[in-house]
Subunit: 222 residues, 2 copies
Amino acid sequence: MRILLVEDNQQLGDAVREQMLSDGHATDLMLSLAEARACLSTTDYDLILLDMMLPDGKGILLLQQLRQREDRTPVIILTALDQISDRITGLNAGADDYLVKPFDLAELSARVGAVARRYSGNPNPALAVGDLRIDLSNRQVRRNGRNIDLTPREWALLEALLQRLDATVSKSRLENCLYDFGAEVESNTVEVHISRLRKKIGREQIQTVRGIGYRIASGHPA
Amino acid sequence: MRILLVEDNQQLGDAVREQMLSDGHATDLMLSLAEARACLSTTDYDLILLDMMLPDGKGILLLQQLRQREDRTPVIILTALDQISDRITGLNAGADDYLVKPFDLAELSARVGAVARRYSGNPNPALAVGDLRIDLSNRQVRRNGRNIDLTPREWALLEALLQRLDATVSKSRLENCLYDFGAEVESNTVEVHISRLRKKIGREQIQTVRGIGYRIASGHPA
DNA sequence: ATGCAGCCTTCAGCTTGCTGTCAGCAAAGC
DNA sequence: GCTTTGCTGACAGCAAGCTGAAGGCTGCAT
């Protein structure tokens, strides 16, 4: 699991990060909302640990922004004992759980594990390719935290390419995949759709293998 | 199979390496994380045997880094009996199996064989020649962890040479292979393409047999 | 029915990059 | 040193691929 930890108390942050690492989770520690936003714009996380009191604003702002753009990444709120209202508004804003400082690291582990389990059993495991998160069952693609809408043809193409990750898929195969049987196409429809798909998900994601077809690379093939 | 063994206990390392070699696996023994990283950046392995306690850090760091960048190379963890938590975090971090020291070499062989078998079912067996990894079905060549893109002609040449590994393939044969039937060529196209291919995959890979043709040596002569 | 919106195909012009040719240089053999 | 053979950089022609625009189709709402 990849975790984003937003906490301005360096000491606490390090301790939590340590704990998460030893639980086997890759963890990025950020000290402010601004830094956190920067991370979120380039990386997708499986879980966010969010402190409420940060130097440049309340953590809940970040949470609200996430939910507003339909990013459902699980969030666990870290809050001080005397700020009970934060907990309520936090949960209302779409947090998955909260922890009251000071908390036991073991308890944190447990909560994180619980949230992770809640989501790992979910029926839509996100496939990570390049900087894309692809939810095959829900036909959703996310990139840099942003949802991308694909048309049926675009999705069909993407699926066909993903089915044979790291392999080069020939244009004719893609064509067959777009038009089940028969239904001749005489022009460069595949190219056109590839072009549009690229525009949406990022040019680099799909490589052209000249004379053969197209390929999506996982980045680290077997 | 090519195995990376990371183990700082020289004696144990040598013993394991010996065993692996006699099982027919090319095995590189590295004594530290730093060395191991260096190897991984230049070579692709089929399996990694990773000790947990190393002079420059915990082996699990390496494992996490691998998985983080979506490298799914199978990893078997070697850990001491008293470090049970290592085993758990190791498996959580994406290890494929673990062995508790001291272990029986026969058991190691068995585990290695099991992991290898689990992965051998994959549909694209990579052919290893020199320091190249060649995926015949996907038209992919990797070297030092880097993907190399070949044009159709270059691939045709490479394929023709691989088809008769360790044998010298005549220029006229290669020519026929580039231009199926007819299609006269009057210049030194084969030489030109060989030159270009060499530039991409490494000069040493293809040997010139003056007056006859070219050859690719397997590095493991019969 | 009519209008509208979204998706798809077609086409044409443009860009990219593969490939054959050749010329000049390097290496090997004598 | 001379000849033969192979190597490689440069270049131009061309095929493959890219993409914007236009028009058609379908489904939906009015």
